[in-house]
């Protein structure tokens, strides 16, 4: 079995596991599944209401039929109904996914480029002190809890210095002109995106730096130096090619982290995204929304993972021809 088929099979199995977890969590936990799935209190619900909810959810059927119904609903795009928001979960999600992706995608790209650039530069440089101080800075950033970093950034750059807006995606009055509106959006996105970039940069930087550092001792680098190739070209052409495949794998594995990072950032910047929705749903114990969010986030993460694996195969000729034995 090649690595890529293995990855795809495990992604499908992961999705299946998430569906099973989602299905069984409300039914196995202590407490009434009907109350859990509707997010109601025992006191606030009448017997007739309870019965109608029970019928709607089909809790009184045997588990196998319930599971079948659940799967059919899921694949027809019905993620449940949130009684807290009085809307279908799919509808709630539809407005929020673009906002989260707006944060996550630029952050992933920026963090990857910055991590690659800084890692290559610091791994190759002869200035030990510079390398050491940058690395230490990243180690410290890595240890800071994500929400604290976001809070500190808001406090200093928005609250104290008033350079950027405090939160949200738009000003209260959005400028009419398209370019001005775009500028307004960018201004609102700068702080959250830089927070996520800072949060997801350290593992990428460390990995690239360490790989480049060990690569500089290899003979092909020595030979390239002997041929008089500029250090810029050695860094970003010769070594870069060898760092790429493990780097892309790391970016793929980090996606879930970036998504969770953007969720935390959304909460603090009060951006209407999936993270904010998940946070509110957790506070109000709105279980259908929680589960729907979890399901959609998992799908995004898993799909992105498959995508990175395919990119990895395309970039790395050794993998394309199956040189790595699967272990």
């Amino acid at each position: 079995m090649s690595d890529i088929t293995k990855k795809i099979i495990s992604s499908i199995l992961c999705l299946a596991a998430i569906i099973i977890i989602n299905f069984f969590l409300p039914r196995l936990m202590p407490g009434d599944p009907v109350l859990m799935l509707t997010g109601q209190n025992e006191e606030s619900i009448s017997a007739a209401q309870y019965q109608s909810f029970e019928e709607k959810l089909g809790i009184n059927y045997p588990v196998s039929i319930q599971f079948k119904n659940y799967l059919v609903n899921l694949f027809s795009g019905d993620l449940g109904y949130s009684y807290h928001y009085n809307d279908t979960v799919a509808n709630l999600m539809k407005n929020r996914i673009p906002n989260t992706l707006q944060l996550a995608i630029p952050s992933i790209l920026l963090a990857s480029i910055l991590g690659m650039f800084l890692g290559c530069t610091m791994g190759y440089t002869k200035k030990q002190r510079l390398d050491k101080s940058v690395t230490t800075a990243f180690i410290i950033i890595n240890a800071i809890p994500s929400f604290l970093l976001a809070m500190v950034i808001v406090t200093f750059f928005a609250f104290k210095l008033r350079l950027f807006p405090l939160g949200g995606l738009n000003s209260i009055v959005v400028p009419h002109h398209a370019i001005l509106a775009f500028g307004d959006r960018i201004k609102h996105l700068i702080l959250p995106i830089s927070t996520i970039v800072l949060l997801s940069l350290p593992p990428k930087y460390m990995m690239v730096r360490n790989t480049v550092k060990s690569a500089t001792k290899e003979k092909y680098v020595l030979y390239a130096k002997a041929r008089g190739i500029s250090s810029f070209r050695i860094k970003f052409v010769h070594i870069f090619k060898n760092v790429c495949p493990p780097f892309i794998t790391l970016v793929g594995l980090n996606l879930a982290f970036v998504i969770s990072g953007s969720m935390i950032t959304e909460i603090i910047f009060s951006i209407n995204g999936m993270g904010e929705l998940l946070y509110e749903a957790a506070i109000y114990r709105d279980f259908p929304t929680l589960q729907g969010c979890f399901f959609i986030i998992s799908i995004i993460v898993i799909l992105a993972n498959i995508l990175t694996d395919i990119t990895c195969v395309m970039v790395d000729p050794k993998q394309r021809f199956g040189f790595y034995e699967s272990n």
Partner: protein, 284 residues
């Protein structure tokens, strides 16, 4: 020559000293909070006091002394971290060793399970499960450890595979020693450095996870941890008022704790790396 050696020797240990000193301070805080804290954590003063000599970090919205709360929160935070890391270590080591040692479908299947857990987005999953299970320290430990064992399992698996193909295990197999004994008495002791390193790092990551879950408002409401202190500061107006002395200190404590674990770990990791390198150069 000697002088150079001494300085380099000392410098190597700076980070280790840093880590150990911070660790000792936090452990003392958690074992004997009464000695260090000026007040009882439930003693009420007037709310929103600024930093002063009588209240080192001021008071929060309920009028509790923040410095005392910080010290009393240390034990719960560390306890959660150590316990969760321990449970995840046991799960990770067991699954990792088995998947590395077993051949055929059993090993492959366990490997698949590890890969599946690696793919699950941890934070959303933790929030969902924590919301269902309900708040409580024990529940949080369980959730974190059930989701945090993958990296341990992966590292243990890789090392087990390496050891399994080494000559001494082959010699043991040939001399007819049972597989159970090989795994328990010969492979697991050889994994100890990986396990130790992973344990320390997973205490750090478990503490971060606990802080995040507590920040999302799903922590144990009866015991204050550093994460829930930040959550209170965020949800009860400390953040919007810009009261830095409320939410910054617990965050700095978490950061310092994670850093100290990192430095202790990296010291031992470097040591084990040197040993490996020497072996390799010897082989060449």
């Amino acid at each position: 020559m000697k002088a150079i050696k001494r300085t380099s020797f000392k410098k190597e240990f700076y980070s280790l000293y840093f880590g150990i000193i911070i660790m000792i301070v936090f452990l003392l805080w958690s074992i004997l909070p009464g000695i260090f804290s000026p007040y009882n954590p439930k003693e009420m003063f007037s709310p929103w006091l600024a930093m002063s000599l009588s209240h080192l970090l001021g008071t929060n919205d309920m009028g509790y002394d923040i410095f005392s709360e910080l010290i009393y929160a240390a034990s719960r935070t560390l306890f959660t971290g150590f316990c969760a890391a321990f449970v995840s270590l046991i799960i990770g080591t067991t699954l990792g060793t088995l998947s590395g040692y077993l051949e055929g479908w059993a090993g492959e299947g366990l490997d698949f399970i590890i890969n599946i857990f690696l793919l699950i987005p941890t934070l959303p999953m933790m929030v969902v499960v924590a919301a269902f299970v309900g708040p409580g320290t024990f529940n949080i430990i369980l959730i974190i450890s059930l989701l945090g064992w993958c990296s341990t399992a992966r590292a243990v698996r890789a090392r087990t595979k390496q050891i399994k193909h080494s000559p001494f295990v082959e010699a043991l197999t040939i001399s007819g020693i049972s597989e159970k004994q090989i795994v328990l008495k010969h492979i697991i002791p050889n994994l100890s450095d990986v396990i130790f390193a992973k344990y320390i790092m997973s205490v750090a990551s478990c503490m971060l996870m606990e802080a995040t879950v507590s920040f999302m408002g799903l922590g144990d409401p009866t015991h204050v941890t550093w994460g829930s202190m930040i959550n209170f500061a965020f949800s009860r107006g400390g953040f919007s008022r810009g009261v830095l002395n409320w939410y910054l200190p617990p965050g700095i404590c978490i950061t310092l704790c994670v850093l100290s674990f990192y430095y202790i770990n990296s010291h031992f990791e470097e040591k084990s790396k040197i040993v490996v390198n020497e072996e390799q150069s010897y082989m060449d």
